[in-house]
Structure formats: C-alpha cells, structure tokens
C-alpha cells in the first residue's frame, strides 16, 4: 500500500517536472529547445551511477552475510541501472544530433564512458541468467559487480585523458547549466527533475526487489513440490 502511494507520488512528480521542463522554464539561448533534454538526461545518468553503486554494495553484502535478500537488491540495482543508462545514452544522442550535428561524439568522454558502462552491466545481467542455482548466481554476480564498479573510475579517467591529450574545441556540455552562474530557473528545474526521477527510481527498486523475492520463493516452492512428488 505504502509502495503504491510512493508510485503515485513518483508519477505525479515526474509529470509535474516534465511539464515545468517543457513549458515553464525558458529555452536555452544557444541550444534552443534541445537543451530541455538535459533535465531527464542528467537525472538518468545520476540514477544510473547510484544504481550501480547499490549493485556493488549489495554484492559485497551478499558475500559477507550470505543473505539472498542482498542479492535481490543487487539485481534490482543492475537492471534499473541498465535501463537508466540506456535512457541517458538515448537522451544524449537525441540532444547531440541538433547541437553537435552528430548522434555520436567520440570526443565526449562521458558518452563513451556511459556506453562502456552499459556493456559492463548488460554482461552482468546475462551472467545472472546463465546460472540457475541462486547462491552460486549471487556469488558470481557479486564479484563481477564489484570488479565492474572498480573498473568504472579507471574507465572514466582513461577516456578523459584519451580525449584530453589530443584536445579539440570542447563544446558546451549539458552539465554547464549546473554552474552556479547559470540562471536559477535552469538549476531549479534540474533539481526538481532529479527529485522526481529519484522518487521513481525508489519505487522501481522496491518493486523489482519484491519481484526478485517472489521469484525466488516460487522457485523454492516448485522445488519442494517436485521433491514431494518424487517421494
């Protein structure tokens, strides 16, 4: 019941933030309406990182405490993180086409880093699907999730350097708007969108966690029934 209230609140918040971003806040002088993509784009990217952090922590907690509930948290984080990552990349491409003239800009370190992030965690999810035993799956997923999380900063810095050492003109990135010098309307809208998306994230995490627990309980029930039938 409480979760449903959270869901409705998240839905209303996202709708309100979207309305503000589309119709209330003025368009950017340089980028025009395309800049409005930045609000959900930055919010998704932030939640993607948060999700993968949760996945790593869930994995460590499983290895430590051997409680499958932590593994369910890790799974929820990875799946929802992949969704937000894909959404962030998609938004970035939609923004890049009118502003940069291309969908994909190899010079942008964040875009390339995020694409690698997607590959890392799609691999994580595929690995989970290939292991049937819940505890073995949790262990394999946990260590792969930890190594992936450790890899993220190295990926980030290496890509940043890679671009930086043959530096070309840096094009105004969407995050520039976070600059305190930027008009408060932009910052306020972004913060509102962040809050709304985080509510939606919390709702999805809870639901995905519950689903994972239900799946496991059902598997267990089937196994017990099969054992009983065999006797």
């Amino acid at each position: 019941m409480k979760t449903r209230v959270l869901g409705v609140a998240a839905l209303l918040a996202v709708a309100a933030a979207t309305f503000v971003a589309l119709a209330v806040v003025p368009a950017d002088l340089n980028q025009g309406d395309a800049q409005r993509i930045m609000y959900p784009h930055v919010a998704s990217a932030w939640l993607a990182y948060l999700s993968f952090g949760v996945t790593a922590l869930g994995g460590i907690a499983w290895l430590w405490k051997r409680d499958l509930r932590y593994d369910a948290v890790a799974l929820a984080g990875a799946e929802i993180g992949v969704m937000f990552t894909a959404f962030a990349i998609w938004g970035g491409m939609m923004w890049g086409r009118p502003v940069w003239g291309v969908f994909w800009q190899w010079e942008d370190p964040r875009l390339t880093t995020t694409a690698l992030l997607l590959a890392l965690y799609v691999g994580y999810l595929l690995l989970r699907r290939l292991t049937d035993d819940p505890e073995r799956r949790a262990t394999r997923a946990a260590i792969v999730g930890v190594v992936a999380a450790v890899d993220i900063p190295i990926v980030h810095f290496s890509v940043e350097w890679w671009r930086g050492l043959h530096q070309t003109a840096t094009i105004a990135s969407p995050d520039r708007v976070l600059d305190p010098a930027a008009p408060m309307a932009f910052v306020g809208t972004l913060l509102g969108m962040l809050g709304a998306f985080t509510l939606a994230w919390a709702y999805l995490m809870i639901r995905r966690y519950q689903l994972a627990r239900a799946e496991l309980a059902r598997q267990e029930r089937v196994r017990v029934e099969l054992l009983a039938a065999a006797r």
Partner: protein, 229 residues
C-alpha cells in the same frame, strides 16, 4: 613474511604446472598464435593496402589482436582444470585462495607475454613499423599489457569456466573491462613508435600500471569466492 613466501611458492608451483602441461601438450600456444596471425591478416585486408594507413593503425591493430587472442589463451588455461575435476582438486588444497589465483595469473602472464612479443614482431613485419628503434618502451608496454590481460582474463575465465555459454560470455564480460588498458596500451605504443614527441608516454604507462594493480588486487581478493561456490 614466511606465510607470504609459502604462498609465493604455491603460486609458482601452479604456474609451473600450467607451463609444463602447455609445453607437453601445446594446446594453447600454437592455436592462439595462429589465431592472432589470422586476425592481423584480416585487419590488413580490412584497412589496406594503403601502407601509410596501416602503419598509422598498427598500434590499435596490435592490441586488438593481442586481446582477442588473449581470450583464447586464458580460456584454455582454465579449461585445463575442468578435465577430470582438476579444479575441484585445486580448491581442496589447504592453501590460500589468492595463491591459486596468483599462480593461474602468472601462467597467463607468461602466455600473454610470449603472445604479445610475437604479435609485436609480426606487426613490425606486416605493417612496416620500425619496432627495433623504440624497443625499451615497447617492451614495457607489452609487459604491462600482458599483465593486465592475464589478471583480468584469469578472473573472468574463473567466472565463466563452468557456464554453458562460456565462449560468448568470456569476451563479453572481459572486453569492456579491458577498455582502459586498451586505451593506455594503444596510446603508449603510438607514442613509443613516434619517439614520444609530446612526452605523454610515461603517463600512459602509469595508467597501465594503475589498471594492472587494481585488477590484480581485485582478482586476489575475489577469486577465492569462485573456487568455493
């Protein structure tokens, strides 16, 4: 201190066992080297025959060939253990888990070093790149690259060795993680071949060192969970 020495001895023994098995059977080396050679040839067809373009692309091609062939090499080293339940035996030994990882990674490092040096030579011949002039930084790059591929590969081969879809999952999991190493190795190789005009070589080698250290520590810390599951 003596405990550490004992672990080092275990690691060396495991690495020696793998090297011996390889020397007697030659399952991995020949096929892996041949695969790397074929990859280089196909790169030549895909990008050639313009010699200047091939020479410019040579560092990237070198490291892609090494990494693709490296997948086969580390996979082979772990398949060795699945025969006759050898991995279970290995897990039963009363030694530190990280020593087992270190041993497998050491064997992988030896294989990758050999592979890297031979592929480097082949790139020099096929793509008309002067590797002799810049051999010290190139050697350092190959050593660091081989170490990184072995550290990551041993870990992921351990994850995937008992999976049904091992052949797909190993590269799928391993290659994105290797991306920073690929960047560092390609940049270091280019800089070395060009005589390091911008003084960036040391920075890229440092990046590779950092990658290697982080991945070796991660492997040492987590490999034990794989053996016990």
């Amino acid at each position: 201190m003596s405990a550490l020495r004992a672990e080092a001895r275990v690691a060396l023994a495991i690495a020696r066992k793998d090297a011996l098995a390889e020397l007697r059977g030659r399952h991995a080396t020949v096929s892996t080297l041949f695969f790397a050679a074929v990859v280089l040839l196909l790169f030549g067809f895909a990008l050639g025959p313009d010699a200047a373009r091939l020479a410019a692309a040579a560092p990237g091609l070198l490291w892609l060939a090494v990494m693709f062939a490296g997948i086969l090499a580390v996979n082979r080293l772990h398949l060795l253990e699945t025969d006759d339940g050898a991995l279970e035996q290995l897990a039963l030994y009363p030694v530190a888990r990280r020593a087992i990882y270190a041993g497998k990674a050491l064997a992988g490092f030896g294989a990758m070093l050999l592979l890297g040096l031979l592929v480097l030579g082949a790139v020099g011949v096929l793509f008309a790149v002067d590797i002799a002039a810049a051999w010290p930084p190139l050697l350092a790059t190959v050593i660091l690259g081989a170490l990184g591929v072995a550290a990551v590969g041993t870990f992921y081969a351990g994850v995937t060795v008992r999976l049904r879809a091992r052949e797909v999952m190993l590269p799928l999991l391993m290659l994105p993680v290797l991306a920073p190493l690929l960047l560092g190795a390609v940049k270091a190789t280019s800089a070395a071949l060009a005589g390091d005009p911008f003084g960036e070589l040391a920075a890229w080698l440092q990046l590779m060192v950092a990658f290697d250290v982080v991945m070796i520590v991660a492997g040492l810390a987590t490999y034990g969970f794989l053996l016990d599951d």
